[in-house]
């Protein structure tokens, strides 16, 4: 990738009361790549994602989007930039069908009436663009879908709005083997379509299967941000558990990332 990152954070600090959760974190996301965000429980992954999504305001640090410094003070700001987050608890309504869920809160209308035909067409186009073939009828209720299909709908919902950055919070955590493969394939395809994808995952196999870069958080600090092809499995595990691995990682707890 010759271009700069589409989204870049520098020197992010975030505290909740007396507890500092993020220390001087730097994080870059590139278009057309899958960036895996890894770290142990409590390392600050979710907090970082919520800062990106505008749910938590950042205490200090800079937020760059497409090279320009921006100020994100709420979820709307992030959505306007083209940053969409797919949360772990998918945020779908079981009693609505796929199209209704994808357009929830942003329904297309002609006059006062909902424009169902246009919404159905757009949803179909988006799912086609993602080469999703597992969903047969767009008018199925979400309740009747499998975990993998729900994840697919949640991701398609995020992609529908010409978003540039899609952040997936543990998309495969609750899925079986076949469905995990399905979702990972979809994640890869998002990046191949030119989107910047951030994948939060605990599963090293998933991370190595689809990611181009790995960013490892350790106790609220960015231990390292490396290319997936340049590290081994065990190095990443060391980064997650100890914050360092050989030349990589935090040097003696000074917080300086390589």
């Amino acid at each position: 990738m010759s271009q700069g990152p589409v989204l870049e954070l520098r020197g992010i600090n975030k505290s909740f009361g007396a507890v500092q959760v993020l220390h001087d974190v730097a994080f870059s996301v590139y278009s057309g790549e899958v960036t895996a965000l890894v770290g142990d429980n409590g390392a600050g992954k979710s907090t970082l994602v919520k800062c990106i999504g505008g749910i938590h305001p950042i205490d200090a640090g800079d937020y760059f989007f497409e090279g320009e410094k921006v100020h994100v003070s709420g979820p709307r700001d992030a959505a306007d930039l083209g940053v969409e987050i797919v949360y772990q608890d998918l945020a779908l309504c079981d009693n609505l069908d796929i199209v209704q869920n994808m357009f929830l809160g942003r329904e297309r209308k002609s006059g006062l009436v909902l424009d169902e035909a246009t919404m159905e067409e757009m949803a179909a186009k988006t799912l086609d663009g993602l080469s999703v073939r597992t969903v047969t009828s767009l008018r199925q209720y979400v309740a009747s879908l499998s975990g993998g299909q729900r994840q697919t709908v949640a991701i398609a919902k995020a992609v529908l709005w010409n978003s540039k950055v899609v952040i997936l919070d543990e998309p495969t955590a609750a899925l079986g083997v076949a469905q995990t493969a399905q979702v990972l394939e979809l994640v890869r395809r998002l990046a191949d379509n030119g989107l910047a994808v951030v994948l939060i995952s605990h599963n090293m196999n998933d991370v190595f299967a689809v990611s181009d870069r790995i960013a490892a958080l350790y106790l609220g600090r960015m231990a390292a941000q490396v290319k997936t092809s340049e590290v081994t499995h065990s190095q990443v595990v060391e980064l997650i558990t100890a914050g360092r691995s050989g030349e990589l990682g935090i040097k003696n707890g000074n917080g300086a990332a390589s």
């Binding site: 979820p75 709307r76 949360y87 608890d89 998918l90 945020a91 779908l92 309504c93 079981d94 009693n95 609505l96 209704q100 929830l104 809160g105 942003r106 329904e107 209308k109 006062l112 009436v113 909902l114 035909a117 159905e120 067409e121 080469s131 999703v132 073939r133 597992t134 047969t136 009828s137 008018r139 199925q140 209720y141 309740a143 009747s144 499998s146 993998g148 299909q149 076949a178 469905q179 493969a181 399905q182 394939e185 979809l186």
Partner: protein, 416 residues
């Protein structure tokens, strides 16, 4: 992405009538009963009462059913909005009583013209809904508690308004006409024909437009079936209601569709449109299905909650006006005792879920019809009020049981 082949595969592009029937049967088997229990119950009850008491099947009694059930149906229609959110409004009955009392006081005691009095009653309903909704949505008090308090409170307000139990009679002819007068037969036929034609036109227009855009549309046979059944059912109803039902037709002729019927049809149409075709209706379902998801989707959940209570109390006010019209008066019992439970019962029997997220405006009419038939039929059989209450209570319990069971079944078959 080929790892998963689904049974739903079979449904794809299966736009034939056979496909629809199969799909429907699958849904019913999966626990989505819809209107089935209500329609089935209605048929069974009607057949039963017709056999036991031939008087049940007379045109006069048929007309009675509408005027008896109208207030409950209207209140139930409003309640459905609150039930869709998974909330409850226990005060809807007495809210209708209070609105009726406002109507009666302004009409009879203050001598206001009927339209001002009706507006005052409706405004009262809206204000009641705003207060209840704000308490539930903004303060976070459970709707059960808020409306239980309101249930007691409104009972008191009603007593105060009618000055401790006097009976305020209504003499305004316009208000009395709602439940006591009929539409001229020729007008009802014209409205019926126009209504069916417009319905068919809308259905065909929508199907054609969807086909034109390459989307799956309802097959023509299904549309024809819908239009035909609407025409037949409403045609028979209008025909029967237009029969002479006066015992002494020479002295006074009594025939035609009671005016409450078109009132209910209009309300049904409006609320069905709101729920199914507008973004607001979509958001009601969404909040009822998953409030957190709705919040994240940018829907103002509080506003949806408050508005649902406003609609509920507003409909209660209309129900109160109908009840006042039917009774020719307002007393401390208007909207009291069984009205609320019948309304909740009507909604649930019709197929609205008490768990939220599932229900239609039509449910109120179907369920209300079941409740009205039970009341009417058992009255004809000469059973005491005690027996009627026991039976209606059992039917409500049965309906709630069916709701809970179908939900369980749906969960186990992965539908809802």
């Amino acid at each position: 992405m080929t790892t998963e082949t689904l049974p739903e595969q079979a449904h794809k592009a299966d736009a034939s009538i056979g496909g629809y029937v199969k799909n429907y049967l699958d849904r019913v088997r999966g626990g989505e009963l819809g209107a089935l229990p209500a329609v089935f119950g209605l048929i069974v009850l009607c057949v039963l009462f017709s056999i036991l008491r031939p008087a049940f099947l007379t045109p006069g009694n048929f007309a009675n059913l509408f005027t008896q059930g109208a207030a409950v149906v209207v209140i139930a229609m409003g309640l459905i909005f609150v039930l869709l959110l998974g909330e409850i409004d226990l005060s809807a009955g007495y809210a209708s009583g209070v609105c009726a009392a406002v109507l009666a006081v302004s009409l009879t005691n203050n001598g206001w013209p009927w339209y001002t009095a009706v507006a005052a009653a409706m405004l009262t309903g809206v204000v009641i809904g705003l207060v209840l909704g704000a308490l539930v949505a903004k303060l976070g008090v459970p709707s059960f508690v808020v409306t239980l308090a309101a249930f007691l409170g409104f009972q008191g307000v009603l007593l105060l308004l009618v000055k401790g139990g006097t009976n305020i009679s209504i003499r305004d002819t316009t208000i009395l006409a709602i439940a006591n007068k009929n539409v001229p037969p020729i007008v009802s036929w014209i409205v019926l024909v126009v209504g069916v034609v417009v319905y068919a036109g809308i259905q065909l227009f929508r199907a054609r437009r969807r086909i034109g855009r390459g989307l799956l549309a309802d097959p023509l046979t299904l549309i024809a079936f819908r239009v035909l059944s609407l025409a037949v059912i409403s045609g028979v109803a209008v025909y029967v209601l237009n029969l002479e039902r006066s015992r002494n037709a020479i002295i006074v002729s009594l025939k035609g569709v009671p005016i409450v019927v078109p009132v209910i049809v209009v309300l049904l149409f409006v609320w069905t449109f709101v729920l199914r075709r507008t973004a607001y209706g979509r958001h009601i379902y969404a909040v009822g299905g998953n409030a957190e998801a709705s919040r994240r989707a940018g829907i103002d959940v509080d506003r949806i909650r408050i508005s649902a209570f406003v609609i509920c109390s507003f409909m209660a006010s209309i129900g109160g006006i109908i009840a006042a019209s039917r009774a020719n008066s307002v007393d401390p019992n208007t909207g009291g005792s069984d009205v609320l439970l019948f309304a909740v019962g009507a909604a649930v029997i019709g197929g609205t879920s008490l768990f939220g997220g599932k229900g239609r405006a039509l449910d109120a009419v179907l369920g209300g019809a079941v409740v009205a038939v039970i009341q009417n039929g058992m009255g004809l059989m000469g059973y005491s009020a005690g027996v009627k209450y026991v039976v209606t209570g059992s039917v409500l319990l049965l309906a709630a049981g069916v709701d809970a069971l179908s939900r369980k079944r749906a969960a186990s078959t992965g539908r809802r």
